[in-house]
């Protein structure tokens, strides 16, 4: 086992524990997903051949290709989720700005 494996495995284990503690409170789906991600990272970094076996199971030649595909997909999904959140936030800002504008104008109308 090399230094990278030790550091990364420890990091994954720590993150998995944090996700587990959050899991008790709220956002169960997200925390469960993060728990799975960190647990997978922990296993893959300690037993690198696992990726090869998983890749072969899916008909992919190399384990690194499988990791690359999964990461690409995860990146796009995360980007999409953030964009949706961003648009929701934009809508909320607009509603606030509109409320201010209309309320101020109506106040002036009555004075």
């Amino acid at each position: 086992m090399n230094a990278f494996q030790i550091i990364f495995a420890a990091f994954c284990a720590l993150q998995a524990c944090l996700a587990l503690t959050r899991f008790r409170r709220l956002r169960r789906w997200i925390d469960l997903a993060f728990l799975a991600v960190w647990a997978t990272g922990f296993i893959l970094v300690l037993i690198p051949h696992t990726t090869l076996a998983a890749a072969a199971l899916l008909g992919i030649h190399r384990g690194t290709d499988l990791v690359l595909y999964v990461l690409s997909f995860a990146f796009l999904w995360a980007h999409y989720q953030h964009y949706i959140r961003y648009k929701q936030l934009e809508e909320h800002v607009t509603v606030l700005v509109r409320e201010l504008a209309v309320a101020s104008a109506l106040r002036q109308d009555t004075t």
Binding site: K87, T94, V97, A101, V102, S104, D109
Partner: protein, 244 residues
Amino acid sequence: MSTQTAPAVAKSDRLPVDPAEVFVVIPAYNEAARIGPVLDGLLSLYAGLNVVVIDDGSTDQTAQLAAQRGAIVLRHVINRGQGAALQTGITYSLLRGANYIVTFDADGQHNPADLPALLEPLAAGKCDVALGSRFLGRAPDLPALRRLLLYAGTVFTRLTSGLKLTDCHNGLRAISRQAAHNIQLRQDRMAHASEFYDHIRRAGLRYLEVPVTIKYSAETLSKGQKGLNALSVAFHYLFGKVRG
């Protein structure tokens, strides 16, 4: 829902309805150089008209100039885009009891003399929404490339909205009070124009296209939509549809 082209109505300076019932909503962002003549044109033609300028976070004197000219000025504390400003104007107009709402551009492209033709089919109960069409009317000095872009946009709009239109993204339109209640624009920026057509279809509103004149100048063209922006508008509109 039905569509047809309104018969050419003789341009008149008199409105077919009481001007006090009409609210003209004008979104404006940094339009100090152009908004004065626009407001003068409207208010000199139609006494008693309610002109609502939504200053969309301008950094120039747009709000002050509009107020000096006698417009009702609503101010967005930060810039939110034309769609957001229009919805603010529509919301305010409904709260003030508007029976007819006209949307009008601040840059001088629209002709105040088109108001009677837009309001006439609404007043006669022929439709709920009157949409201005530059291709049924006139668009002098419209550059060929912009014309091509608008034709492509119209085809896109017909496909996505299902409305039989001859023009798209024309900001000159009139809506009845009942119709305005069905229109809640969520697209803050330019994609609101496409979203507007979706509201018409979803609510089953009756619409007509009315010939109008759109004036182009080097100034308005430089501030207006660029060709590549159309792709961005289409993306935001389609994304909004997917998101629901």
